[in-house]
Amino acid sequence: MGSKDDARKKFRLKVPTSIAVMPIRTKLTIISSTIFFCSILFVASLHDFGLGEFDFWMFEYNDFNFDFQTNRNHKFEIDSVLEINEDDWVSSLEKESGPEELFRFRKASILSRILDEDISSAEMLYNNSSPQGKAFNYIVEQDKRQLHPDEHLLLQRYALAVLFFATQGDEWTYGNLHFLTGVQECYWRKKVHMTLLGVSACDSKSHVTHIQLCKYNTAADWKLFFNGICGK
């Protein structure tokens, strides 16, 4: 008996009196609400670390699904995607003259458009190691969208690619922010610490209106979570 009492005394000494005295119902309420708030914080932090943006990954497998799911409230954007997909200029030209001819025709058309509108110099465009040359190669060869040379948003995509290469996008702190992926360039962005970085806004016709590539707060990560990277 004596040893049991000692054990109880020891136990009571360790637990603060206020908790020890509480009825079991109150204790359960405190525990369950703590678990509830912790789970909310956990889900929020997942999103903050970019895991909530898995819809961007889905695009890699299915173009249309991506645009349909994220833009279901913006019909104009779905329309613009369908316009590109349904465009039959590629197939018609391919039938007439073959894929190589098509490639050369497209490359020459894009080149002359950039030069005619005096956007980049020929010297920079022909230089494969310059940002302009890299961006041109991206638009012509690697870009999954393979835009028509006359597509009005082609130069916007080119300019953003130049910005990526000119500012050493490979070394950006938070990765490439979906730059140069197959999504429409208004989605070349990523939410990091509650801040949209990259192309942070477009207008109703998919023209870029906001670019945010800043980092003002160098505080600890948990502070960035509340204040954002570019400040409030």
């Binding site: 940002p131 916007q156 910005l163 500012t167 207008d203 209106t209 906001h210 590539l213």
Partner: protein, 70 residues
């Protein structure tokens, strides 16, 4: 964000640009005067970089800029 290199003049293609924030990076070179052709610009931040040269006259002519930080 660790932006290095320089601001490309091609940015003038983005005619509807209202906000451009490159603050607190390691950009070098000069500010391209082409930025002055972006008439819709309302907020321009290029502060805390290693940019050199003068602020181009063209940028001073931007009417809509409510706030700019260099």
């Amino acid at each position: 964000m660790n932006l290095q290199g320089s601001i490309p003049s091609e940015i003038r293609v983005l005619e509807r640009l209202e906000k451009l924030d490159f603050g607190n990076n390691a950009l070098i070179g000069s500010i391209p005067p082409e930025l002055g052709h972006l008439n819709k610009m309302k907020f321009l931040a290029l502060n805390t970089n290693n940019l050199t040269g003068k602020i181009p006259e063209e940028i001073r002519g931007l009417d809509n800029v409510g706030k700019s930080i260099f």
